[in-house]
């Protein structure tokens, strides 16, 4: 027990020593706080229609100006935090659950089935997240639920691939082979050896995926396929925003910047944890934002060509 605590302390210390860890942690905590209190503080101002003050530039009353309905852009951007965060968290949670289950099943299957399953996952990955998500939206219909399912389905193949490559690598380790030889059952091996070995990798990958999922979900909302009026997230705010470039640039910039900020916070956090948990990453080439370079969605089909160092 004390050994585990000592290790947790070590991880914590090295996390705080990463250049990006504390910054991203503070950012995420601020975003969570905003998601909790944002709607109750700014919700009223955010939906207060005032056509007399429509499409105005920044002023004392409206620091970032107003949109076409005279609603305060700053208040709307802050109040939209809750929905903009909850939806991708739900989607990536689903994707991680379904994807890692599929990946584990594939890695446990016989050689023939394994090849078919892996081929299927690779084919799905090849189409890219956006096209997959759009296809799923076509099937399940537009709207908030549709967008969450679509993003979950778009990211599940990446988790499946990640899981089965992790499981295969653990599976071929000597002690697992030995355990199998002495007759430990498959489920026993899975529970005792494989799961503890891949859980932290999966958790870290989830943060990187969360950054991407947040961006994709906002993109779907921006296209009008996700959150529908009167609900609003950062993506839906962007739609009228880009149409009024000339008049009120903040209407587009504020929500887009929030998407980028939140995405960066999650990706950096994932990167910092990965470094804290796996000290080996420290002695290799430095890369402040390594998580971006090895993001799940760009997980390559040919690992031997890959970027193992970053």
């Amino acid at each position: 027990m004390s050994e585990r605590r000592a290790r947790a302390g070590l991880v914590m210390r090295s996390f705080l020593h990463t250049p990006t860890g504390p910054v991203s942690l503070v950012l995420i905590l601020a975003l969570i706080l905003l998601a909790i209190i944002g709607p109750s503080i700014f919700g009223e101002a955010a939906t207060n229609v005032d056509l007399g003050q429509a499409s105005e530039g920044p002023s004392a009353a409206h620091p970032l100006g107003t949109d076409a309905l005279g609603q305060d852009i700053l208040a709307r951007t802050l109040a939209a935090t809750r929905l903009s965060l909850i939806l991708p968290v739900a989607a990536i949670g689903l994707a991680a659950l379904a994807g890692s289950l599929i990946g584990a099943l594939i890695s446990m299957a016989g050689p023939r089935l394994r090849r078919i399953g892996a081929g299927f996952v690779d084919a799905a990955l090849g189409f890219g997240g956006v096209l997959l998500a759009v296809f799923i939206i076509a099937v399940v219909g537009i709207g908030t639920v549709g967008a969450v399912i679509a993003v979950a389905a778009a990211f599940a193949p990446a988790f499946a691939r990640f899981t089965y490559s992790l499981v295969s690598s653990v599976n071929s380790r000597e002690y697992v082979v030995a355990a199998r030889l002495v007759g430990v059952s498959q489920t026993g091996i899975l529970r005792r050896h494989i799961f503890p070995n891949i859980a932290d990798s999966l958790a870290i990958a989830s943060f990187t995926a969360l950054a991407d999922g947040l961006i994709t979900l906002a993109a779907l909302s921006f296209l009008g396929l996700g959150v529908q009026a009167p609900g609003y997230d950062w993506g839906t705010m962007l739609t009228p925003g880009v149409k009024s470039f000339y008049v009120t640039p903040w209407a587009a910039l504020a929500p887009a910047a929030m998407v980028a900020l939140a995405g960066a916070a999650f990706a950096l956090f994932g990167d910092a944890i990965a470094r804290a948990v796996n000290p080996l990453l420290w002695v290799e080439r430095p890369s402040v934002l390594a998580a971006f370079g090895t993001r799940l969605s760009s997980d390559k089909a040919r690992p031997e060509m890959g970027d193992h160092k970053t």
Binding site: G126, G128, R285, A290, K300, T310
Partner: protein, 315 residues
């Protein structure tokens, strides 16, 4: 042709055909699994029961599934994807009208990745030799930020700066080739950053090989060094992710076309989804998906030419 190549091509072609078949089945299945009634969608919410039944008959939804699938296949062979629910225009016509603006974006984007991304990675690799840590950190940080920017944010900022404020480039449409520049940059930034990171690492790997070190100590000319050793490796590294980069460009185009009000496949696809115009959605997803699958196959073949080691890979 040597047997290794024949084996490789055969396997790669089989995979291409299987994935394309999967794509055709998925797009066919689309109309059968959508919530609600496609016949109701085409007839309109106010239409009476007779009109809905007529629409159902016209769509062939009363036929058995295998007959419908046969019709769908024979339609595909004749390049007939059915008619748009909205305008009764053949879907093929919608696609041929809007494929140009999207293809322009994809081509420009690929060019940016090739002519900016790869040289950037090479340069980054050459400059970060001898453990120049500060440069490495800066390079990784910068490309890391680029790889994390949502393409619609890049698009918005580019449009504000170059189209709205400076007015150097058009802000919307696809009337001139110059209108493709900003959206192409916007969708290329992320995949380009990914490629240049990979190329940099690869370049550094090659430069730190023992045989290269000894060759350099014997005054191997920089031209031979970069031309014969570094460039092919860097190209292979870039090619290994070119398929993913292309898929990212296509996905980016679907989103960014909206920012620039560009009348391409993405705009038509999104419009089709909003009004449940299933034939258009099917046709465009099929087109974009097939483009990605085919480009991937071509990339793999090219990679095998550049780097024959991949012939023995898992494929």
């Amino acid at each position: 042709m040597n047997p290794k190549w024949r084996h490789f091509l055969l396997r790669r072609l089989t995979r291409l055909v299987v994935v394309l078949a999967g794509l055709v089945i998925a797009t066919f299945a689309l109309i059968h699994v959508v919530p609600g009634d496609p016949a109701r969608a085409i007839a309109g919410a106010q239409a009476d029961q007779n009109a809905v039944e007529r629409a159902r008959e016209e769509l062939g939804l009363n036929d058995p599934a295998y007959v419908q699938f046969g019709d769908y296949l024979s339609g595909l062979v004749r390049l007939d994807f059915g008619d748009s629910f909205e305008t009764d225009e053949p879907v093929t016509k919608v696609i041929s009208r809007s494929i140009g603006p999207t293809a322009e974006l994809a081509a420009f984007g690929m060019a940016i990745i090739l002519f900016v991304g790869i040289p950037l990675g090479l340069l980054g690799g050459a400059l970060s030799q001898e453990g120049n840590r500060k440069f490495e950190l800066g390079f990784s940080g910068l490309t890391g930020i680029m790889a994390a920017l949502p393409d619609y944010l890049t698009a918005t900022v580019l449009a504000l700066v170059f189209a709205v404020s400076l007015q150097w480039l058009p802000v919307a449409g696809a009337a001139t080739l110059s209108a493709a520049i900003l959206p192409a940059i916007a969708i290329a930034v992320r995949p380009m950053a990914m490629v240049s990171r990979l190329v940099r690492i690869r370049t550094l790997d090659v430069l730190e090989q023992d045989y290269i070190r000894s060759a350099r100590s014997k005054r191997l000319s920089p031209r031979a060094l970069y031309g014969r050793h570094v460039a092919p490796n860097a190209l292979a590294a870039a090619l290994s992710v070119a398929g993913i980069a292309f898929a990212a460009l296509v996905g980016g185009a679907v989103i960014v076309e909206q920012v620039f009000a560009r009348p391409g496949l993405g705009t038509e696809l999104v419009q089709g989804l909003l009004v449940k115009n299933y034939p258009v959605v099917q046709g465009i997803i099929l087109t974009l998906g097939a483009a990605i699958v085919i480009v991937n196959a071509i990339v793999d073949a090219t990679l095998a030419l550049v780097d024959p080691r991949t012939l023995e890979g898992e494929l």
